[in-house]
Symmetry: C2
């Protein structure tokens, strides 16, 4: 979700790609004709999902890993779209040969979620029933709707069971939902920097972002596309608020401190402190690249997610259907979804008798840490994935030849 989608991974300047990159990747599109019934009661008559894959699907189709993205994420998680592409996908630090999700073993599938604005059907798409853009008519999407649409993508790719479903933040919620709704279809679950439900403060920050967008006069009740405008002011503010919650106070302090942009105070409202400059820049960039209706939908999906709600808040009971081993990871300086929120999930999994490994990783980088390279994070993550590969017999060439 954070800036790190565009910034976290290293950049390269030469036309040779890094040796541990998955290389140049071309997104693909899967079209689905069967209507999808949504939690809100509406039906999506048809839809596209755009996705990328990294690595090679084995003959048994048993080595596929699903990547679920966060608030402002998309399908481009690793590699480059061309040799001239300066920045790789948002999770390139963790997907590739020898990386946490090792493409020497795994076939990785990364999609843009339904309702998104990067190629999958969403508010920017054409509504076949009206002939207009979907815009604000696009139905509200929940985490379970996303999982339903991802099940169809698995079927489309003839993947009966994911070797693992993996996600950070809102992506981790989708992984959790997979483990509950389709326990027989995921062999392992990796839930990073996530929470089993938002707190009142989390919802409050989302609500500020929504009000910023919806009160922008250029929003036009969501029909800005038909007014040839974009609610840039609102999107900018939403992103600025978001960014503050993605970075730890310490990370912000050591990155910017009270440094001034020029030597003197200007006693005005132009940028004075570096942190102001950073936030305005992040907000401006986002406001020209992300769709406002999508942002609204994604924040509501976050707010709604609460698998324990129908069990009177008893998360252990909600977790009863889960069958697979879990890896839960959090970061010490993440104040958006702090380690205590991951612990809620871990405690409930233990109480429900489920196998779970948990690591709270020391990091100064706040919520953004889940996107960044880090030695201990990588060690925990790759150890879990390697064990998964061994248990699924993915790592011996011999085995592959015997089976195929």
């Amino acid at each position: 979700m954070p800036d790190s989608y565009t910034e976290a991974a290293g950049t390269h300047s030469a036309s040779t790609l890094p040796a541990d990159s998955v290389g140049v990747i071309t997104p693909e599109i899967a079209h689905f004709d069967t209507p999808l019934s949504l939690a809100c009661g509406k039906v999506l008559p048809e839809y596209d999902l755009v996705y990328e894959t990294y690595g090679t699907l084995n003959a048994e189709r048993s080595n596929a890993v699903l990547i679920c993205h966060a608030l402002s994420g998309h399908h481009h998680a690793a590699g480059y779209h061309s040799r001239d592409d300066r920045k790789p996908g948002w999770w390139d630090a963790h997907i590739g040969p020898g990386k946490s999700i090792d493409t020497n073993h795994f076939f990785v599938v990364s999609l843009n979620n339904l309702g998104g604005c990067h190629g999958s059907t969403g508010p920017l798409s054409h509504n076949p029933e009206t002939g207009r853009q979907w815009g604000p008519d696009f139905p509200m999407i929940t985490v379970s709707d996303w999982v339903e649409s991802q099940v169809r993508l698995a079927d489309y790719l003839s993947i009966e069971r994911w070797a693992a479903a993996v996600g950070g933040s809102l992506g981790g919620m989708q992984v959790l939902q997979w483990s509950l709704a389709y326990p027989e279809r995921i062999a392992n679950a990796v839930v990073i920097a996530a929470t089993p439900r938002l707190s009142a403060q989390n919802i409050a920050f989302n609500e500020v972002a929504r009000q910023a967008i919806r009160s922008d006069p250029d929003f036009h009740a969501g029909w800005y596309g038909e007014h040839d405008t974009v609610p840039k002011r609102g999107l900018k503010l939403a992103r600025m608020v978001g960014h503050i919650t993605y970075l730890s106070e310490d990370a912000m302090g050591s990155k910017f401190g009270r440094d001034l942009r020029s030597n003197d105070l200007n006693f005005g409202f132009d940028v004075e402190f570096q942190v102001e400059s950073y936030l305005r820049h992040q907000g401006d960039t986002f406001s020209t690249t992300f769709d406002a209706n999508t942002y609204l939908l994604m924040t509501k999906a976050l707010d709604y997610f609460d698998p324990a709600a129908i069990y009177g808040g008893d998360l252990s009971r909600a977790l009863a259907p889960a069958q697979c081993p879990f890896l839960v990871m959090s970061f010490t300086s993440d104040w958006r979804f702090p380690p205590s929120r991951s612990r809620e999930l871990v405690d409930a999994l233990i109480h429900a008798g489920k196998p779970v490994s948990f690591a709270s990783i020391d990091s100064p980088f706040g919520h953004d840490a889940f996107l960044l390279p880090d030695e201990r994070y990588h060690a925990m993550f790759s150890a879990f994935m390697q064990r998964a590969a061994r248990e699924l017999n993915l790592d011996t060439q011999a085995n592959k030849e015997v089976t195929s």
Copy 2:
């Protein structure tokens, strides 16, 4: 600064006022003709300060306590403006007979700061040089400018030395500035839930608030008054963001949790969660009662305050001029200005050899706690003030008679 300015103190319904109230109070106005040179280089030709007083000034004029207000505060700190007034001033919990600042001993002076929007000269006032409202032409005001204007108010009231200067949040910064700029004119300093300088994250939240206001099309570069409009959307957003930072995550959680406004999800963008309803209401109220240009000025005053800056960040050196005893208090769940920020000040005061008492008070109420009644808070606060009264020989009627 928080909602507690209007909500924290108890309400009364009968026409009899509470026994421990300072009673019905009438604000007064002091006019100053001597131009005031400001830190920004501009000069304010003349100005008014509106203020209230509680208690009785003794003959020696030695029992006066100055109250400095925070971001969205004003002069009405205690008592009622009429017998029909349902809510008392914003710090009524701590000012009155028998309260932390005991009006049986002290004569309390509470003003609205320069640049404010509650009666003191500010952006809503008439600019004598142009004949227009000041609006965005009102010069940038710093914490030291406020102290200069408060010195003149002290002179106007013939108060040579304050028995104490007292303030929370931005108010605490003014108290600190008093102790450095006019050490001989304050006998005691009480700095509550404050910080010697904002962090990058603090500045970031202020910047979001400013961008929200300044990007509102109704802002008109600050000349909304001449356009017969108010940047309500921006003010609302600014206040919503502010509120999240005034409340602790736990306080928000226990106040609202994930409670829904009605029984079912509406799968839309109307209010669903109680916390959304609360924030929208707070924002709406504020947007019709507070001036946008004033809000901008106040947030910049917060950002600029940094007495250690001219000493290369060495706060101990900056504190060298201070002479009086300090009481510094913070609240455990305050994440806007947490106890660690107060400790910075306390450590620097100790390092500089100044007398200081410090209490980090257990409270679930976040930054707002400084406005609320609390047994331990009151005990610390009133013990310090009683000691001050004894040392200034304020508490014996005999003494008063002898001296006068």
